[in-house]
């Protein structure tokens, strides 16, 4: 009986550690902190290996460097850490009860109305990876997602029409955001900047990026570095509906 209790305790402890690591990695994804995290993970692994093998001197050096690097990490990433802690406090639990189909419907309607008028649009939908860095590059809006507002933002010759919109939860977080352009050499040279930005963001984060072409009016979607062209309304709704579900289950 006690051995079962011991095993359960071990599993719970590992489970808690797993959750903490998972949350940190998810939070760091899409921010510059991810590179530092990679470095820390590599140093930690090296530290563990040298300890197991018995390289005492190397291990001593790593212990000292590690202690210093934690301090450096806290100083360099104080802004990110502060934001992360604030996020825990302000977490949008209401998102769990969201009517996502309504949001999908608003986005799809806006995309196809813009497509009919051949007005370019770039809409990123945040999933698990936070897009704070990209939100900061644009102009904060924080408004409910609705098709009229989306269309108004993308109207040519208006101050906000350049760049992309970021939809986070049930809100339009920001517009005029700059997304990274894809560096993939295999991408067709005929693709414009808007499509390249959509691909770039989808490569770096798990966001869903919807693009409306200014030239053809075609609606495309970029997910995980892949671009699907010329979607019709039903298929866009279906894809968005399918991709929203995991986020919902995670209670984000």
């Amino acid at each position: 009986m006690t051995s079962y209790l011991k095993l359960a305790k071990i599993l719970i402890e590992i489970g808690i550690l797993w959750f903490v690591y998972y949350v940190i990695l998810i939070f760091a994804r899409g921010t510059r902190g991810v590179y530092v995290l990679r470095g820390i993970i590599l140093i930690t692994l090296f530290f563990v290996i040298t300890k197991q093998v018995g390289f005492e001197r190397i291990n001593w050096i790593f212990t000292k460097i590690f202690a210093l690097s934690i301090l450096a990490f806290l100083i360099i990433f104080q802004q990110e850490i502060r934001r992360g802690l604030a996020n825990i406090g302000q977490r949008r639990w209401s998102r769990f009860f969201l009517k996502e189909s309504e949001i999908i419907n608003e986005i799809t309607t806006a995309c196809f109305l813009l497509s009919m008028r051949k007005i370019g649009a770039l809409i990123a939908i945040e999933r698990e990876t936070r897009l704070e860095n990209y939100i900061e590059s644009g102009i904060e809006i924080d408004a409910r997602v609705n098709s009229e507002l989306l269309m108004t933002i993308f109207m040519p010759n208006t101050p906000l029409h350049d760049g992309g919109i970021i939809v986070a939860g049930e809100r339009i977080a920001a517009s005029g955001c700059f997304f990274p352009l894809t560096q993939n050499p295999k991408v067709s040279t005929t693709l414009g900047t808007r499509h390249r930005a959509a691909l770039g963001l989808s490569e770096e984060t798990d966001a869903i990026v919807v693009v409306v072409s200014e030239e053809t009016g075609g609606v495309s979607i970029a997910i995980g570095g892949r671009l699907t062209h010329d979607l019709n309304r039903e298929s866009l709704e279906r894809v968005l509906g399918n991709l929203y579900r995991p986020d919902k289950k995670n209670g984000k």
Binding site: G15, W18, V20, Y21, L25, R29, V48, D206, R245, K249
Partner: protein
């Protein structure tokens, strides 16, 4: 189906987190065992010392 998609969503991050969690757990566990052993040894040595030199710990009588 629901379980499956939860499992596959961010699969590699989940695996990396699990590996890190297991490594951390074993490392901390080892350190805790060492610490306990050290405390025990210190306690034992202080007890033996007291037995061998009982007058050593006596406070001077004023």
């Amino acid at each position: 189906m629901i379980m499956n998609s939860w499992f596959l969503n961010n699969f590699w991050i989940k695996i990396i987190s699990l590996i890190l969690a297991v490594i951390t757990w074993f490392y901390v566990n080892e350190e805790l065992i060492k610490e306990k052993q050290m405390t025990k040894q210190l306690y034992k040595s202080s007890v033996i010392n007291q037995i061998q030199n009982p007058s050593h710990d006596k406070k001077p009588v004023k």
